[in-house]
Symmetry: C2
Subunit: 191 residues, 2 copies
DNA sequence: CGGATCGTTGATCAACTTCAACGGTCGTGG
DNA sequence: CCACGACCGTTGAAGTTGATCAACGATCCG
């Protein structure tokens, strides 16, 4: 299972088998079942999560009490409330399993120690955040230049398997529209 | 001038004066005047920019040919098209000076060399991207949970000096609304 | 002084939301 | 394994937010 993490690491930095074994000790692997919550909104954010298999989502409640999903994490993606993790404060988001999943986790103290003991990991996470940041920049670009209709069709064409994989009301929320409107767009797409 | 960069660096990593002098050699300091363009949409993205004084913005043209501003950078902020920089491909955005500015720049080759020669800089940029990513996460949160009216008032309360500092049509574009609607909201705010 | 650019106003319009209702299906307990 | 309830996706009507368009006045800059 940790093989998935090893391959991901080796895309960015070179680590020997022995080094990897040592690095792995700073992490824990856990199994979570569908709907299980890893991080509660308002609670201190103590961990970052790396998806080995399965799918997680990040969400919060809007003023009407409706869940708004702002992020999904699939295999080999990191997910966390980064601001809250960096400052060890209350998370503004919740993180929940969308499917039964295997997750690699690391807590704040282990992370600090890891950086101190293996400076090469600074480089790995520099890449991880750099790419995550770039992905968010693209997302802002789409949100700012496309209508919701175009955004949905664009997303559908790019990630057809993902559209099938998650419930529609979560996808709708993630794309920033209502389930009703998403339903209307699907009909339009078919015809 | 480079003092501003030094102080920013030292918020995240410790570097001696001599080290800083060496590090500084990988960068160039340039002056740009208002409206000058540093990065053209469609051209290879060769540099990252750090604002010492002044203000830059990142924007692109939507399908109607209207400029959409997706990011501003004030003093001590990095700005670049990260995806295009990482892969040295065509930028999807343009970067332009909003005011006369003093800018620290670094090109791709120097960046690679810098990381190789001063691994501590991996840590610095790990922090830079981590925070930039976190800021974008917050932005998505606001965009997903607030009406444009609420978003504008919220922004106005948080950054009143900035609202005064940039032209209104740029601010409107950055907040994702039309200048006309922004004008309406201002009137509402006053009354 | 003159032209272009920027902010404002009001009228009209479109995109998307809200609400209510219905049918299908999934999973859970009996 | 079946039956029931809860949840999910769909549909259509009505409503709202925010965009578009056109026109005007102010201001900035050459």
């Amino acid at each position: 299972m940790s093989q998935i993490f090893k391959e991901h690491l080796q895309k960015f930095i070179s680590v020997s088998d022995e080094e990897f074994e040592q690095i792995l000790r700073y992490f824990k692997i856990i199994r979570v079942s569908k709907k299980e919550i890893l991080q509660h909104e308002g609670k201190i954010c103590r961990h970052q999560y790396f998806v080995l298999t399965g799918c997680l989502r990040k969400y919060l409640l809007n003023e009407k009490g409706i869940e708004v999903t702002t992020e999904f994490a699939l295999e080999t993606w990191w997910i966390s409330e980064n601001r809250a993790f960096e400052f060890q404060t209350e998370s503004l988001f919740s993180i929940q399993a969308v499917e039964n999943s295997e997750i690699l986790t690391i807590d704040f103290q282990s992370m600090e120690k890891l950086y101190a003991d293996f400076p090469i990991m600074e480089r790995y996470f520099r890449f991880v955040y750099q790419r995550a940041f770039a992905a968010y920049q693209m997302r802002i670009k789409f949100l700012y230049t496309m209508s919701k209709e175009d955004y949905f069709f664009h997303f559908y064409d790019l990630y057809p398997e993902f559209v099938q994989r998650v419930p529609q009301y979560l996808l709708a929320s993630f794309l920033g529209l209502t389930p009703e409107y998403l339903s209307e767009l699907r009909r339009k797409k078919r015809s």
